[in-house]
């Protein structure tokens, strides 16, 4: 029987399953699960509720920021400032609450700081045309410096009248014994995933990363979208900062140092392409999970912590190499 034009048009080249099986995110997820199974048998301490509680909670800070970073990376940009922005937002929260204001005021001040920084990034990048790498590199320096100015480079560990509320916010477990930060992470991941898949805003983010010129020609408001994306990235750093402050119960001016590299690593391991156009919310979470499982397992297996960087670096190379090999096979 001849195949009609309509049948050809209705046909899809790849099935849903084949598409999932060929995604980097899927195989990283498999790696995480296999590692967890292996560790449960190889060590006595991995599959304990205390260790799992720790792992899931530790994942969240990197994962939440990786969600925002993934949006930036999909547009073809980068945000190097997130570690410093986290520090500044934590410090603003700490200083405001220490001065006797309520937790609501503290959080509002902290979020506002994040949004202002993100808006500045977006305006300089989208309207002035400065490279994202340079703009956010500058903020990497500026934000941490401002955190030192705001606190006089001291440790803040007393948060005024709402001290206990803040600690419960970050350190508590209100739902079924799941650490609060994990709940926030899951909610934020679902929101991010929804935005990317189901909204016009999400579609435009992919379009900008795929071909910015085409996006402009077809009437996509490229500049506004870029500003929004950098604001979301800073916002995610701010949210992570607030939660981390509640969990740690103290803020120093060196929290979040080098965090940007872990966050970018998580996004890239999870399948986001630095060239733009590719990335998912699930990928950000899975990438962050793989990094945390590697870190945790090295400790449990009794391997010197100095080796950590090698394993994480290896994971980055391996994940991206895997993707390259898959594409070679496709093109042949």
């Amino acid at each position: 029987m001849a195949i009609t034009l309509d049948q050809t048009i209705a046909h899809k080249q790849q099935s849903w399953l084949a598409e999932k099986l060929s995604s980097q995110t899927f195989w990283v997820l498999v790696a995480v699960i296999l590692a967890c199974i292996f560790l449960s048998f190889a060590t006595d301490s991995f599959a304990t509720s205390k260790n799992l509680y720790n792992i899931t909670r530790n994942v969240t800070f990197v994962a939440i920021i990786a969600l925002g970073m993934t949006l930036v990376i999909i547009t073809g940009g980068i945000d190097l400032s997130v570690g410093s922005v986290l520090c500044l937002c934590s410090m603003i929260l700490g200083v405001v609450m220490h001065a006797g204001y309520s937790i609501e005021v503290g959080i509002a001040a902290s979020i506002a700081t994040a949004l202002v920084i993100g808006a500045c990034h977006g305006l300089l990048i989208a309207y002035i045309g400065m490279p994202p790498f340079v703009v956010t590199l500058a903020t990497l320096s500026i934000a941490r410096s401002l955190a030192m100015v705001a606190s006089g480079n001291t440790v803040v560990f007393q948060f005024g009248p709402d001290h206990d509320k803040l600690l419960a916010l970050g350190g508590g477990a209100w739902f079924f014994g799941i650490a609060n930060p994990v709940v926030y992470m899951v909610v934020l991941a679902l929101i991010t995933g929804f935005i990317l898949r189901w909204t016009r805003f999400g579609r435009y983010i992919y379009a900008i990363g795929g071909n910015e010129h085409a996006a402009i020609l077809t009437g996509v408001p490229v500049r506004q979208i870029k500003v929004a994306v950098y604001m979301i990235s800073s916002l995610s750093a701010g949210i992570a900062g607030i939660i981390q402050t509640g969990w740690l119960g103290a803020i120093t001016t060196n929290i979040g140092t080098g965090l940007e590299l872990q966050v970018i690593a998580a996004a890239v391991i999870g399948g986001a392409a630095l060239a733009g156009g590719v990335g998912t919310a699930l990928g950000a979470i899975v990438g962050a999970a793989l990094i945390e499982v590697i870190r945790n397992s090295l400790g449990l297996l009794g391997i010197n912590a100095f080796w950590q960087g090698c394993f994480i670096g290896g994971a980055i190379l391996f994940a991206v190499l895997f993707d390259r090999v898959r594409k070679f096979r496709q093109s042949e």
Binding site: I9, H11, K12, Q13, T199, R200, G210, N211, L217, G219
Partner: protein, 247 residues
């Protein structure tokens, strides 16, 4: 009545006279080949019709009413669609996503509206069927042939009731077999009563598909005649300047 009529259109950038006193008109369902060497002024002319530039002198009329365009979006609103030379496609998106880029179909209430994938796949599929192109709405543009990519770019012009489609070098970078596909797409547009302006360097394509050819040289219109009354030799002579001008 002509769907588009240009009268004494000129455009200069400082001292440079890019387009000089050009007049012509296009009827509905007519394919006009616009030819000329690099720098002859055809791009500038097309960019004025597309709303990228406004003319220094002269008037444009659409269906008899004066047409003033300040932005490309306004041209689109008047039913003027452009297929860009580089096609303006996002490789990482599906064919349907590219067709609807900037004009997504959504469902929902008020500000809570989500992308309507089903409707977009369906409509894109209908357009591809109309265009007789074997292009699958759900496939990524990255995996597509040059002809299919052209079909995606042309499908965009079918979303609204386009009156004029401007095509900038649609056959410049594709294989011979795909050229035939694209010329067929142009014929389908013409059969729907759409006026097509085909900017091309390729003489065989223009003589194959166009009803009329307009030749530009150094910003001036040097020929405007029916394909049947002309020949590739004559047009080549007009483009290079070996033939000064024909009526």
């Amino acid at each position: 009545m002509a769907v588009l009529e240009l009268t004494n259109i000129s455009k200069h950038f400082g001292a440079i006279q890019a387009v000089n006193d050009v007049s012509f008109s296009i009827e509905a369902g007519e394919v006009v080949g616009l030819m000329g060497d690099n720098g002859a002024g055809k791009s500038t002319l097309v960019k004025m019709i597309a709303g990228n530039f406004s003319p220094s002198h002269g008037t444009m009329r659409m269906d008899g009413a004066e047409l003033v365009l300040n932005k490309p979006v306004e041209a689109r609103r008047h039913g003027i669609e452009i297929v860009h030379q580089d096609l303006a496609l996002c490789d990482n998106l599906t064919a349907a996503a590219n067709v609807f880029l900037g004009r997504e179909i959504r469902r929902g209430v008020g500000p809570f509206r989500i992308l309507d994938y089903a409707s977009m796949y369906k409509r894109a599929g209908q357009i591809f069927a109309e265009l007789k192109s074997e292009t699958r709405p759900r496939d990524l543009v990255k995996q597509m042939s040059g002809g299919q990519r052209q079909a995606v770019a042309i499908a965009r012009t079918r979303l609204s009731e386009a009156k004029i489609v401007l095509m900038d070098e649609p056959t410049a970078a594709i294989s011979v077999r795909q050229v035939a596909e694209v010329l067929n797409l142009i014929r389908h547009l013409r059969d729907q009563g759409i006026a097509v302006v085909l900017i091309s360097h390729r003489m065989p394509d223009v003589f194959d598909v166009a009803d009329r050819v307009i030749v530009m040289r150094r910003g001036r219109k040097v020929a405007d005649k029916r394909i049947a009354a002309s020949s590739p030799e004559e047009v080549t002579g007009l483009i290079t300047g070996a033939i000064e001008q024909v009526a």
